[in-house]
């Protein structure tokens, strides 16, 4: 992913910076759960077992760091059907989603 290498270098710093503001807001967390289940789920499956897009189970996500996953969520994957979710998510929120997916706490 050479095109993304710049982002992969700076994103962790951005995320650390924004992670200070944790997602204390219960209502927003609820929205994000809804987003994962129903909007991500429209391609990845309601239970994230996969569909048109790959499965997003902790097992399948093992090779990726939370930073990489957050970056994929935010920027999408050019050349595939995965769109960038930047307009709807902050970096901290993408990181929260990435961690939740990796641990299996989400959806």
């Amino acid at each position: 992913m050479p095109a993304l290498s710049f982002f992969s270098k700076i994103l962790p710093f951005l995320l650390v910076l924004s992670a200070g503001k944790s997602l204390a807001d219960e209502a927003r967390q609820q929205e994000l759960r809804q987003l994962i289940k129903h909007d991500c789920g429209s391609c990845h499956g309601l239970t994230l077992q996969g569909g048109l897009g790959p499965s997003l189970t902790p097992e399948r996500l093992k090779p990726f760091t939370p930073e990489q996953l957050a970056m994929t969520i935010v920027h999408g994957r050019p050349g595939t059907a995965m769109p960038p979710w930047r307009p709807f998510l902050s970096d901290a929120e993408a990181m929260w989603l990435a961690q939740g997916l990796k641990t299996g706490e989400l959806p």
Partner: protein, 391 residues
């Protein structure tokens, strides 16, 4: 007091009688609503707009769809988890269920009603079942290169007990003839374009059209003249324009076809396309509130109703086909996932996922006639689909 009780009892009785009627029940005004998150269905009737029963135990119903038996008694429900469930709408219960793959996307019923086909993502291919017993009749792996299976999308029935479908990973359209069910004959059309995401057959059974995610335009196969092969239509459409990110793939099912024009969703654009069905050229691009998902013609053909992908999925817009412009915008609430017209078009049923509601609108006045509680509803399927090619 006693009189009041008597009146109440009488009203109750009348209510039941109205909903059920005396004697045997027919199924022409029945339908099902998918409660995607709860693996359940609501059995509905459209004469009085009520729920008759709830049927549970259908597995993962995200992106579930259904077809009906030719007698309109049974629904075959295709779940995401590979489950194929047969529901008896008169007995109001599940009468058969097989988990036939790891991950599936949709299905179809054959012209003669004897076969039900399911399209699968994992393992990629189509499996065909006996509609009566749900026994496996034929297995058609979508192997496009040695050891490589493609996800299958856009599965429809076609006249002659055929099924037509598209291969997402391979960019192919296959036509499987199941005249001899155990020995399917498959015709393959290669290089039809990258990443077909869905397919539709015109109501006369003549044209199969696949939408392409990875290429401009759509792939068209004339089933009356299959020897002419697949041709690309609308190839120049949107060339040189940046596509928007797509947060939900459009569905082609339900395409409105009116007065020689087809109304279809533009991928990655806030537009409904109007296409001349003789020249297959775009004659108009109608700007819309968001990226269309379903573009469904009201049965009379006068109006076309459109819903949208995230983040605009709280809206519905209505197009007047006379002058091809938007005449109404409704805002039922977040997560409008599907709409289904009653067969004569007087009312339309709309699922509003995030409100946990079904809204039924009068199509002339746009007034809401009924509000029905439903848990995370998605697809709505009414039994008249039983008699339509491709549904």
């Amino acid at each position: 007091m006693r009189t009041a009780f008597r009146i109440a009892t009488a009203l109750l009785w009348l209510g039941v009688a109205h909903a059920e009627g005396p004697g045997p029940r027919a199924t022409g005004d029945l339908g099902i609503i998918v409660e995607r998150e709860h693996g359940s269905l609501q059995l509905i009737e459209t004469s009085g707009n009520s729920i008759l029963a709830k049927i549970s135990g259908l597995g993962d119903l995200s992106h579930a769809s259904a077809v009906f038996s030719r007698d309109e008694r049974f629904a075959y429900v295709f779940g995401r988890d590979g489950g194929l469930t047969k529901v008896d709408m008169l007995e109001r219960k599940i009468v058969g269920r097989v988990v036939q793959s790891g991950n599936s996307i949709g299905g179809a019923i054959s012209q003669d009603g004897s076969l039900v086909a399911v399209s699968n993502y994992t393992p990629g291919g189509v499996k065909v079942f006996d509609a009566r017993t749900l026994e496996l009749v034929a297995d058609i792996p979508a192997e496009f290169a040695k050891g490589k299976l493609s996800k299958v999308v856009g599965l429809v029935d076609a006249p002659g007990n055929r099924f037509v479908f598209s291969l997402w990973d391979a960019g192919e359209i296959w036509v499987a003839d199941l005249s001899t069910p155990a020995k399917p004959v498959v015709d393959k059309y290669l290089d039809i374009g990258r990443n077909p995401y869905d397919g539709i057959i015109t109501p006369d059974g003549r044209y199969y059209i696949a939408g392409l995610f990875g290429d401009d335009g759509l792939a068209l196969l004339d089933l009356w003249q299959p020897q002419n092969g697949v041709k690309r239509i609308l190839p120049g459409y949107g060339k040189g324009e940046e596509k928007l990110p797509v947060y939900k793939m459009p569905h082609l099912e339900g395409w409105a076809m009116v007065g020689g024009h087809a109304y279809l969703p533009a991928v990655g654009r806030h537009e409904v396309l109007v296409v001349d069905m003789s020249s297959w050229q775009v004659v108009k691009r109608i700007p819309a509130r968001g990226q269309p998902v379903f573009v469904v013609g009201q049965p009379s053909g006068r109006h076309v109703w459109v819903n949208f992908a995230f983040p605009d999925n709280q809206y519905i817009q209505v197009i007047d086909t006379l002058d091809q412009r938007i005449v109404k915008t409704l805002e039922p609430g977040k997560g409008v996932l599907h709409l289904e017209f009653e067969p004569r078009g007087g009312e339309v049923w709309v699922s509003v996922r995030d409100l946990d509601q079904i809204h039924v609108y009068d199509t002339a006045s746009y007034e809401r006639q009924s509000l029905i509680e439903s848990r995370k509803p998605s697809g709505i399927f009414l039994t008249p689909r039983a008699h339509r090619i491709g549904l």
